[in-house]
Symmetry: C2
């Protein structure tokens, strides 16, 4: 039996550039993990392809999937559903392939509950890191702007606590490399390779 | 204040090639972590340099360090002491630099107790992975040889359980790359970067 694949979840606050980073990872090619295409009820935009960018379905179809327990996670934004069908993911993991998800923070927390052994990566805006430097700097921002930024930073840091890794999206290419480092390293974790070794020993009749 | 550095411990069964891999890592240069030179009472071999390969000391000096609680870990092999002085490591970590240790398994377990937040990497022989293939293969080995190999494999797998990562030493260059992936990924772990973010928020007066 193939070793079960590893689930990799990329998430982060909205506007941080998750989609851009994910696209850069898969545009590079040569990856030994596969992208799980999300399902949505929104209409395809120009250039978007069914089954590549999203699985485009009707509202009725989506709600049937929910009712049948077929969604690993889902959420509603602006009257449309977005979510991850569980079937494809389980099939792919069972075949021994690693699966990459790029989803919103609410969805990521739903997935974490159901699949706690996944790798959870939080993409952070560079300004979270640079915030301090900027604020203690020349002081050209109004008190209100500063206050708002601090609040946002705090809420994002609180989200980060629920993830395994924090990757700063300062440059897309750097963020991509960091995510690939994480995936390579996670495959070497003793908790992940142990079952394989134990099975080997078991097979040997001990 | 500088963020405290990360301790990286490379260990593994004797004969697995820890020293060769460590040497390859540092011969490459350009590393953003430093090697902690061990202390020993054995005589320098031809070409070995004091303070580079080992800190060469007398038995009395070594035993004084032990008595003063100055050793992070130590062990005796063939009448000689080998160990890691704690002073240099703490100083280097406090300065914000990551420290790399290459030590025997007994020592690694002593260090893990004292410094549980370190990164513990177990180097495994390739034959542990290949064992099954070889044993279920042509069957040219005697029952005794097979039994012995299985026993060794089991004891090594049991050791592995105490580590975070398992790196197969099939090729030195590959093992080096895997270890560097691990180090880069570990620096991005939320548990490691969180204090820095929290400090930043704290500094902002929240």
């Amino acid at each position: 039996m193939a070793k079960r694949g590893m689930l990799i979840v990329l998430s982060g606050p909205s506007g941080v550039g998750k989609g851009t980073v994910r696209k850069a990872i898969f545009d590079q090619g040569g990856n030994d993990f596969v992208y799980s295409v999300s399902m949505t009820t929104r209409s395809p935009r120009v250039g978007e392809e069914n089954g590549v960018d999203y699985h485009f379905v009707t509202k009725t179809e989506f709600e049937e999937e929910i009712a049948n327990g077929g969604m690993l996670e889902y959420a509603q934004y602006v009257d449309n559903y977005y979510g991850t069908p569980i079937k494809y993911i389980n099939k792919t993991l069972d075949e021994g392939h690693d699966v990459f998800l790029e989803i919103e923070v609410q969805g990521a927390m739903q997935v974490r509950e159901k699949m706690p052994t996944g790798v959870y990566i939080f993409l952070t805006p560079p300004d979270l890191k640079e915030l301090k430097n900027r604020l203690v700097g020349r002081g050209t921002d109004s008190a209100e702007v500063i206050e708002k930024r601090i609040e946002t930073a705090i809420s994002e840091i609180k989200m980060m606590e629920n993830y395994d890794y924090a990757v700063v999206n300062d440059e897309v290419e750097l963020a991509v490399e960091r995510i690939k480092d994480i995936i390579r390293a996670e495959r070497l974790r003793v908790v992940r390779v142990m079952p394989e070794y134990n099975e080997m020993i078991g097979d040997l009749g001990k």
